[in-house]
């Protein structure tokens, strides 16, 4: 019961936060469309860290993630004048980044462990076990099937609700639900098997 309430509360907070961002995004988008450089910069700076982090989790390599994020930002800048006010910038920006990253992944080598995970684990002040767990999670995540991974990342790392994820990935709500559940279970199985981090470090 408590868990359920917590989950509902967290989702509500997420929606509230997304709503607040949206309102502000809309204002910034409007100003940027009117040629306001500061608004455009603010908009990009708001999203660059989120998109970069997502790209990094999707492709694994920091250099690739930088390129993809920059490409996504560039696209945002160029397409923004044609962006329709009725659409939401939040999901649109994520969709651009996800599409770019997934398109890249289809051509690229298998995803490697994100640099950030290695550094965080090496330098972590956490107990060794915690650091190893984090490394194992990151390694397992890197091997997760792409369709699961995007959904799981958007939910558990970016804290999106299912409707937004459906919009970003352009899939039905039921598919979002299924992919997140299956992705989480896939990850749990990978962690239980203990192969995630070991494989990537080998």
């Amino acid at each position: 019961m408590r868990a359920g309430n917590f989950a509902v509360c967290a989702a509500f907070q997420s929606q509230q936060r997304a709503g607040a961002d949206e309102a502000s995004d809309s204002a910034l988008v409007l100003r940027a469309q009117q040629g306001d450089q500061a608004a455009l910069t603010q908009l990009l700076e708001r999203y660059a860290p989120r998109l970069f982090n997502l790209c990094l989790r999707l492709v694994g390599q920091r250099a690739d993630a930088e390129d993809l994020t920059q490409t996504a930002l560039l696209y945002v800048i160029q397409a923004l004048p044609r962006f329709e006010p009725r659409a939401r910038f939040y999901t649109w920006a994520y969709r651009i980044a996800v599409n770019a990253a997934l398109s890249h992944r289809r051509k690229a080598r298998p995803v490697a462990l994100a640099d950030a995970d290695v550094r965080a684990s090496d330098a972590s002040a956490d107990p060794l076990e915690a650091a190893e767990t984090r490394l194992a999670v990151a390694a397992a995540l890197a091997r997760m099937p792409a369709e699961f991974r995007a959904a799981v990342l958007l939910k558990d790392v970016e804290d999106m609700d299912y409707a937004d994820i459906a919009e970003v990935l352009e899939i039905p709500l039921g598919t979002v639900k299924s992919r997140i559940a299956r992705g989480r279970l896939w990850l749990r199985a990978a962690l239980d098997s203990g192969g995630g981090a070991a494989e990537d470090r080998a």
Partner: protein, 419 residues
Amino acid sequence: MTHGASTPADDALHEQLSAWLDGELSADESAAAQERLRDDPQALAILEDLRRVRGALRALPRAMPPAQLVTRALQASGGVARQPRRANLPVLRGLAVLGGAAAMLMLGVWVGRESVVQSALELRNEADASPPSPAQRQADREAVARGPIAPPGNGGAPSATVSEHARDQADQTFFEMADRVATAADSDIVAAGWVREATVAQLGVAARSIQTVAPPSIDDTLQVFVTTTQPEAHAQVLALLQEAPCVRRGASTASFGAVVEEAADQFELSAAEAEQLLDALETAAPGGVVVGLPWRRAETALAEMMGKPAARDEGLRADATLGEPPGAVHEPGSASQPDTPVAVAPAPSLGAGGGGALASRPASVGGRGLALGEGPAEGVLGRLWRQTPLRMRILVATSADVAGSSASQPASAPAFGPR
């Protein structure tokens, strides 16, 4: 919790509990889930597993991007976003040159992304830093003011061209950039991927497009653009594609969201089927077919393949004719505001900076498009297909507004996007 193959009932339970954990169930569904959790220890164990995984994911460190990422993107874009601007003829050549280069460079980014991104962006910046000189602009204005110069293959239709000097300049810029990008990408291909957004930017939300791809690779791909300006022609072309035995049909996998949401279906044809289709397309859309190659010097290569001595000979037109859209707005104080369309060499561009090129006839993206003349070019595509080992992609586009308003108004330029 077992790790064996799950049953549909297991999957349903997992989904139910996972969604419950996320607060994504309805009140009734949530009540059912809670009841299950009360009665079923295994369900409770699954929930704990899910919660543990979610917690582990949330604990992953967030990486920060380099500080200059936004700055670099802004610089690469040429600055602040602006509302699309209608064609402004006095500066059209400059826009077209820079825009063509920009489009091509963006394409290069997608093709050779890993190594070429920075180089491409630097080249783009370089192009932006070298706009046409005032003297060149003035020469172009004077050339336009002197009156129409019918481009070869245009049948003397009322149109004007920019000066030969301007066109040569555009050619030089275009190909120099193409060469450099291709070199940086370590590839002969300078155009690929990208540009669904350009399609939609150019066609607008009223546009319909059908993309035929065979087989699924951009390499060695003959690009065939078919743009129709008449509803009947569009229907005929569409019918041809719909009747063709496609390998795959479906929604595009390259949607970029709101901007492209109206751009629609994608078809894939086998090479054999594509061959059967080519001549029929020519007949259905006379004058609306443009072929292109995603190569450097594609214009020359195509001309050779087609047995033509030069790209600008009769029957082959290497220009993207840029027609000014209805309601075009000229900047106050423009030295020249001609009413006639203008033909320039490079393909139309992406982005707000190239807004003047957005109402153009078909043109290839990155490489050069060769229009097949004003009349039906019966058999040319079929011969080309048979003579070359190329694969083929076809994109058919019609703007509903254009089709409904004017037969003579050129349709917008389509472009290919990532699949």
